[in-house]
Symmetry: C2
Subunit: 164 residues, 2 copies
Amino acid sequence: MGESTRCNEGYLQIGEAAERTELTQRTLRYYEEKGLLQPPTRMDGGFRLYSPDDIERLERVKQLKDLLGFSLADIREMLEADDVKQELKAGWRKDADSGEKAAKIRVARDVTLKQLALLDQKLAKMASLRDHLAERIEKYDGWLRQWSEDGAPEATPAGGASVP
Amino acid sequence: MGESTRCNEGYLQIGEAAERTELTQRTLRYYEEKGLLQPPTRMDGGFRLYSPDDIERLERVKQLKDLLGFSLADIREMLEADDVKQELKAGWRKDADSGEKAAKIRVARDVTLKQLALLDQKLAKMASLRDHLAERIEKYDGWLRQWSEDGAPEATPAGGASVP
DNA sequence: TAGCACATTGACGTGCGCGTTAACGTTGTT
DNA sequence: AACAACGTTAACGCGCACGTCAATGTGCTA
């Protein structure tokens, strides 16, 4: 078969996982080594098998790295809150006493809150920067208008980028 | 004198410049080496003297680095638009023909526009991430409420971070 | 003029985030 | 059984963004 319906239900080998996430195999192994993913399951021969959840996590790592420019260590920290969520999704019904559960959830909640606060700070600063840029553009346009009225007459059909 | 009213009008030596900007002397020299600043003026002996404009620029570099996580090369590019602004501020009245000026300004404007578009993309993605985090917190709170109603009764005065 | 804080260049070192190569094992097909 | 395609670990290398000496020169003060 040319098309690959290879491994069990949506589980991917490292090559395919790398393609899907647009990361390199080296990077996947590196992230595993650095504890950003819990080690994926292996085939009998030792080949890594990435679950859909693993893929999801890899995509979150990528997102965080591209977006925030954080170090992998920082990202590792941030993802620890995710882990609690995963533990919830998995078989937690029949687990230990509810006090522990609640405590863990509270920790995860607080961590997430701090992340949110941090993100809001960044967003605010970036918004401010954005406004500065916008102002500058208006100034430029002002100078250009004044120049073309006052001085030499020149057509000015500059290419524009839309700002939705 | 204990207080330092040292160099001429607001010009700072590298040590003080480093303090003001919260960067290291090494970093300042490195940024200069990499062309992020035009080389500052020197005293007779060769000591660097940073003008207020230099300080401003350093602070912008820092802001861009912290905020966006860009490489210094990227930042260098972004700052080239700033340079045009500076050229405007300086003696440009009696300069070359107005066609050149207008062309330069148009270039700067377009570069700035692209930066703005990029920033808006980032902002959008970050806002989306923010919403995800907020949703998660609500879910956590939901679980916690359900647990405390359904199961063990426990006081829950978790420390909160305000989100203005 | 001595002394001390501060600066200069130059060189080497460091941690991160991978890239690259080598030597070797596994899978699936023919 | 043979073969290509894919995977494994281990090790070295690299570019970036500086940190950290070392040897030397400068500025101000006493």
